[in-house]
Symmetry: D3
Subunit: 324 residues, 6 copies
Amino acid sequence: MSDPFFHPVSGFDLPRFAGVATFMRLPHVGLDDPRIGEVEIGLIGAPWDGGTTNRPGPRHGPRQLRDLSTMIRAGNGATGIRPFELVNCADLGDVPPNPADLMDSLERMSSFYARVKQKGIVPLTAGGDHLCSLPILRGIAADAPVGMIHFDSHTDLFDSYFNGSRFTHGTPFRRAVEEGLLDPKRVVQIGIRGTSYDTEDLDFAKSVGIRLIRIEEFFDRGIADVMAEAHEIAGGKPTYVSYDIDFVDPAFAPGTGTPEVGGPNSFQALQVVRELAGVDIIGADLVEVSPPFDASGGTAWLGISIMFELLCVLATSVKARNPA
Amino acid sequence: MSDPFFHPVSGFDLPRFAGVATFMRLPHVGLDDPRIGEVEIGLIGAPWDGGTTNRPGPRHGPRQLRDLSTMIRAGNGATGIRPFELVNCADLGDVPPNPADLMDSLERMSSFYARVKQKGIVPLTAGGDHLCSLPILRGIAADAPVGMIHFDSHTDLFDSYFNGSRFTHGTPFRRAVEEGLLDPKRVVQIGIRGTSYDTEDLDFAKSVGIRLIRIEEFFDRGIADVMAEAHEIAGGKPTYVSYDIDFVDPAFAPGTGTPEVGGPNSFQALQVVRELAGVDIIGADLVEVSPPFDASGGTAWLGISIMFELLCVLATSVKARNPA
Amino acid sequence: MSDPFFHPVSGFDLPRFAGVATFMRLPHVGLDDPRIGEVEIGLIGAPWDGGTTNRPGPRHGPRQLRDLSTMIRAGNGATGIRPFELVNCADLGDVPPNPADLMDSLERMSSFYARVKQKGIVPLTAGGDHLCSLPILRGIAADAPVGMIHFDSHTDLFDSYFNGSRFTHGTPFRRAVEEGLLDPKRVVQIGIRGTSYDTEDLDFAKSVGIRLIRIEEFFDRGIADVMAEAHEIAGGKPTYVSYDIDFVDPAFAPGTGTPEVGGPNSFQALQVVRELAGVDIIGADLVEVSPPFDASGGTAWLGISIMFELLCVLATSVKARNPA
Amino acid sequence: MSDPFFHPVSGFDLPRFAGVATFMRLPHVGLDDPRIGEVEIGLIGAPWDGGTTNRPGPRHGPRQLRDLSTMIRAGNGATGIRPFELVNCADLGDVPPNPADLMDSLERMSSFYARVKQKGIVPLTAGGDHLCSLPILRGIAADAPVGMIHFDSHTDLFDSYFNGSRFTHGTPFRRAVEEGLLDPKRVVQIGIRGTSYDTEDLDFAKSVGIRLIRIEEFFDRGIADVMAEAHEIAGGKPTYVSYDIDFVDPAFAPGTGTPEVGGPNSFQALQVVRELAGVDIIGADLVEVSPPFDASGGTAWLGISIMFELLCVLATSVKARNPA
Amino acid sequence: MSDPFFHPVSGFDLPRFAGVATFMRLPHVGLDDPRIGEVEIGLIGAPWDGGTTNRPGPRHGPRQLRDLSTMIRAGNGATGIRPFELVNCADLGDVPPNPADLMDSLERMSSFYARVKQKGIVPLTAGGDHLCSLPILRGIAADAPVGMIHFDSHTDLFDSYFNGSRFTHGTPFRRAVEEGLLDPKRVVQIGIRGTSYDTEDLDFAKSVGIRLIRIEEFFDRGIADVMAEAHEIAGGKPTYVSYDIDFVDPAFAPGTGTPEVGGPNSFQALQVVRELAGVDIIGADLVEVSPPFDASGGTAWLGISIMFELLCVLATSVKARNPA
Amino acid sequence: MSDPFFHPVSGFDLPRFAGVATFMRLPHVGLDDPRIGEVEIGLIGAPWDGGTTNRPGPRHGPRQLRDLSTMIRAGNGATGIRPFELVNCADLGDVPPNPADLMDSLERMSSFYARVKQKGIVPLTAGGDHLCSLPILRGIAADAPVGMIHFDSHTDLFDSYFNGSRFTHGTPFRRAVEEGLLDPKRVVQIGIRGTSYDTEDLDFAKSVGIRLIRIEEFFDRGIADVMAEAHEIAGGKPTYVSYDIDFVDPAFAPGTGTPEVGGPNSFQALQVVRELAGVDIIGADLVEVSPPFDASGGTAWLGISIMFELLCVLATSVKARNPA
């Protein structure tokens, strides 16, 4: 049972629109806070979009996700999981990027996540653009490559942009494979669709053994079948979960920089996460929520609802590893 | 056949964007109007959101629903029903709330609906928040408890808010059961989902015999099967229909105060109403449309489309009772 | 293989948010341009909404569609088609309407399209309201009636508006049948739904042999079955494709003047076009995108994604006719 | 003293967000209503924008102006005028245009206003685009030319559009002078600014004696001085007041089709109307409010605030003519 | 010199869009925090709008004001004041209202402010609607009546609403005078304008000696002269400052429930606060910012800029009283 | 007299909402176009915001400015200047940035502008963030330092960001002075306001002789007086004009990343440019228009209106230098 210090503020004590907005109304416990040692899952903001090649904005994501997250309550109605009671959760604040320097930002982020790992905290990150996943993996998977279940409409496996820029939100997982952070045989990408320049990313995936499941296959086979395969690919070993909000159809998630029409609806968006139950998850992120393109806040609301589902399977996973 | 006085203004006489906006371009007939005695179905606005515990706004619902309602035409393409020809319909105007006094507002509303019932008019209400359903039931179900088919993502069966406030939009049906307005054995709630504080509402439902159909069950079984069960529960006796717009997925209905992702789409939102054909409906409402969160008007357009479907089954039901 | 002059600007040479916005970043080649003779498919804007009887705005459609179209890349991930390599494509600019004179606009448009046809260019048009389809057909189907596969929530087969106005966006295909531009036996209308004044349009359809597939039938039978019937109706002969964005559910396409809830999602919106493969298409349009009602640009993004799918099947069709 | 029947609904009886929205919460009294003979000032909607050559939308103006008008109270804090007590005011509804036929719409409107005049009612119109002022003048100034005080950023004195279209929102006052509806020597145009094609309109103004006051002169001299000159030009004889919302700076009134930056602020927008006190006003309009470009409703709120100021001077003027 | 613990996070350490949003990036120090005793000025959110009679929304004000406040830097460029160096400032969090119970909310708020006063902290409050000022005054002015400088377009001096509701955002200062919290002779209200029901509020003001300065007088005399009179009225004795955002013209502050056109611009909005230098200020508030009507966040940005100006004069005032 | 090839498309030939959107409807003439040698003033887009430290978005500026620019007509009503007749103007397209590499982007931009200068073309640039001004100056002022008249709410004279990043939109003019591109004695910055971290920028300005005119001084002295001083500072020698849209009050220009309230209105925004007549201008820019924060397009409309005023004084200046 978790420590009450780490329980969210209840809407019966303070209405949900009130109060300083932390993730899911959890206590704000920075890396230097005296109680940081008790935290088991850390919700972290990565407010950086320096890897964006098209429409910027995800740097504003963590702020808006925190705002909407105050409408999340304590229990998961569908699965019955009550994550805040299972493990100690806290809002660790934002990792500080340098918006004027891409390489410095990558360095700041990987250092931050290395410290998080060192403290034994499992990170659940709110992006930020998808390049953020690279320094996170550098921070938490430096010892040994991990598997990855990746929900997205894009593979993010390109080699470079403008013939030379190797660090953009289209390249993180190419780099992660090259750097030995990901075991490509244990990587599955789900939801791929949209137009493309060429097949360079697909060729790379094939060459290293990454499994791609296009959206047509996803709809044809159904969620249960697809996710069963994902479990097999993850193989019962440490696995990272990366969720790009543009996996979801833009009618449900308009607030993102590179939307692709023809995606899953919001029920399916939650279901794929619920089907992660049993995977050995060592960290997760939800990226590419872009408030400037999300006037109504609906994308952030869906985004934080997905994060809550991620938290539920993450808490179960953490509890399974530390059953005490 | 209805009296032509009660027919909507045609778009061929006055374009749909023109004219003073009444519900579906019907004549405005107040409770003191000389022709009120001829009205069979009254469309009523309940512009009040004093029961809102989170994001207010539904007080503006009736105005925006009237605006969008001018795009509704005379016939239902799917079912062939032409409600305005079946029975005399009119816009009765808005019930006047007191925004500065919750208990006074409840009283004003129940008195208004008691008068509506006394005149033999079946009410179709546009809310307002969901607390409005309580004074409506007080007005029309004071004599004997009625059944209810309830579409919503929340049960609205909580006991109190802030440990003491018993009248909020989370409590109307708890009160209605306690006050003998609803027969809990003849109540079904469809579409329940989202996070929760605890299971107090579910426990109450179970204890009094209210049937809950969560969204997962709804999607698994399909509309036809679920609605067949709803017919059984209603049991051929007088039944109220309460439709919270947050039943629908927020991509289709963003303009509401407590959205829950993972809901039905707009086709399903209409289908569940069409499947009410044959139920003995004695009144209906569509609540929680919140224009400040609906910049595009899309929620109101869906809301009024649902109200038109409700009107079609209501008109058929009224006609069945008064076949003359 | 197409001429590189007609290839789109790559996002690796100029970021997708940069540059003067032409359709899909193609060269702008006007009807008097020296290279017009090489163009095989012309993307044309028809910025006119003089036929609108309700909410205007589609005159702004081509501008916004061009803007969003810069996010389209070279290849179709689902079908593998790379249209710009198959045939020479260009942006022919906008046909100039006279916003103050409906009949003059019709004349200007039909003349423009007659010139397009004369030059052997297959037109893919971005509307504009649906009345634009009439002068397009006058321009390209003057010699012999063509078939039509028509996606829409409305039939657009009405006779007149306000008892006398014969040219509105509710009448184009009634006129086209009367004028011998369409062979009604080879016309199918898919997706019809919403409320209606009367059955005048349905009666006309039945009397001339136009096939209507309502949305309920569409969902019941599924896309593959419905589109197989569409192929049969088209009959392997020259066929026009007209796509009203209000075919799609307004949650996916809010930016239109006469939305009808309960329509297909965006995946289905693309699928129906992909299923056109093999039809002998001699022109196509995507109409009724209305930027003033599309604050987020999401409708235009879906619209241009549909246009890209149309371009893919159109390019295949053109290539099939001119295999050189 | 006016008849209480013609008094607005009070916010203390029905909150301002409630009720069917008529202009300023006045009774809706159509031209065929039994009490029409008692009306002294009629508020009329002219929901038509067929004269628009650029961005359409003002056809939606009357609906939105009515909505916002429910926030107007009974008395003018600045001048002390209480118009609803001075004279009988009513909402006459909307004049029905034919959106598919410009000439038919002009005819419908002039007939309507001729009836209004015949009944002795002074019209205060909410447009619609500026072409609406022409049929209004045809209806009320057919007997003898009137003077006009005209607030606008454009002269609307052009001869034709597209070399031939003589009826657009850029031409109404050219036509009105030609048709003998306006006495050009008694016309003053205030606030003119923005870019221009040529000086055709200025040449015409000079040739017939219309006085133009550009915005630079307006700011240099100040409101009191400019309006004193306007009084002189009106000359104590029957004068029409036409107010284009684009007179005001677009920061205050973004919701219009042809905004020109560098205009008056909202205080000045009201002051010029207050300075009309003493002019013999025989009708007035407020045109070009375009809701699709006014997401926040701020333009309509300013527009209706201006209309209330117009009503105050109009009521005083009517009372002065009928002191009984 | 203030303690560095109470300095805002610098934008050079953490970009302004990053981090958990507290007021002006100050530390969050609750009333039970160990360091609360060191706080000299407390920034407090009052997220409650139960007194709203028209358009609700200010309950969301504190959250959005905190968000925008992260763009405030350390020094006032115009006056040179650096408030965070003068005195210890902190974000005290939000006072918890009960959205379902008006009287309970008033009680909760007055208790909270009584504790604030007891700790010797000067409160700077972000509303909330204007009724919030009443419990604040009950909390901090219970001992002796204070003076007030009040910027607003409304007097908020009405007696009751709906003939009986005595606690709304139109009545707080009537109640405060009656309860002996305000010394009416030392109250000045600046910026009054807009339409009115009657003169009940003006009559009350006159009867008790409150000085009203309408907007016309404000513009005529100029800020320096008006504010000099305000100083005289405050009389060098303890004075509260209440600033309703609707004092400012709605082009600058659209996000509020009861806007009145014709108000000051944003430069004047700041200037009036700067002219408070030298007044003995014992507390201040900025109320009626309503995010649902402020899509762009511009109102909150102006609101927090005004709060920073208030903080500067407040800090100077506190420093003057405690020169240590 | 200019060549008709370089005249804008008239709204009488093609309505203003139609056609591919180039700057002010000018011909698109790239640097490699055969007619580039005839161009005298080149309108250029700089779609890059890599220097943004707060809210990104100006990379989308050129696209939206082109869109709105189609509403600009041929002549300046206030000054009578008709720039397109004075000199040959063209849209040179966008300079291609590398969004993933700041230093590469700077290099690409300075090379582009060096080519522009080499061809004898005077550039009028639409940003992009303010860092864009640095590579522009590198391209056109490499030979000898120029003077600058700079409208802005910020000095952009900071040394570095995050203690090390020397190239951000807060540093361009510090760098330009250091690199000998600007003669600080001939630089004036007008409109400075807002909060500040420290006085580092002011100290630098003082040390090198840059003249700062804060907004309070600007309002006190008036435009004519301030601009007379600007003329003196420019000293009749080659001068660059840099205009940050955040010079203007955010009510008039909300669409920008770092707004500061309390600025000039739109009339003043134009007037300061008109008062540049007679300055020897060798290039100009309008930067920091950020479409994601400009939902209504109003900022872009003001921005392009300012650019037209800049074009008028630029064309006069060019003509004065090349009187041919």
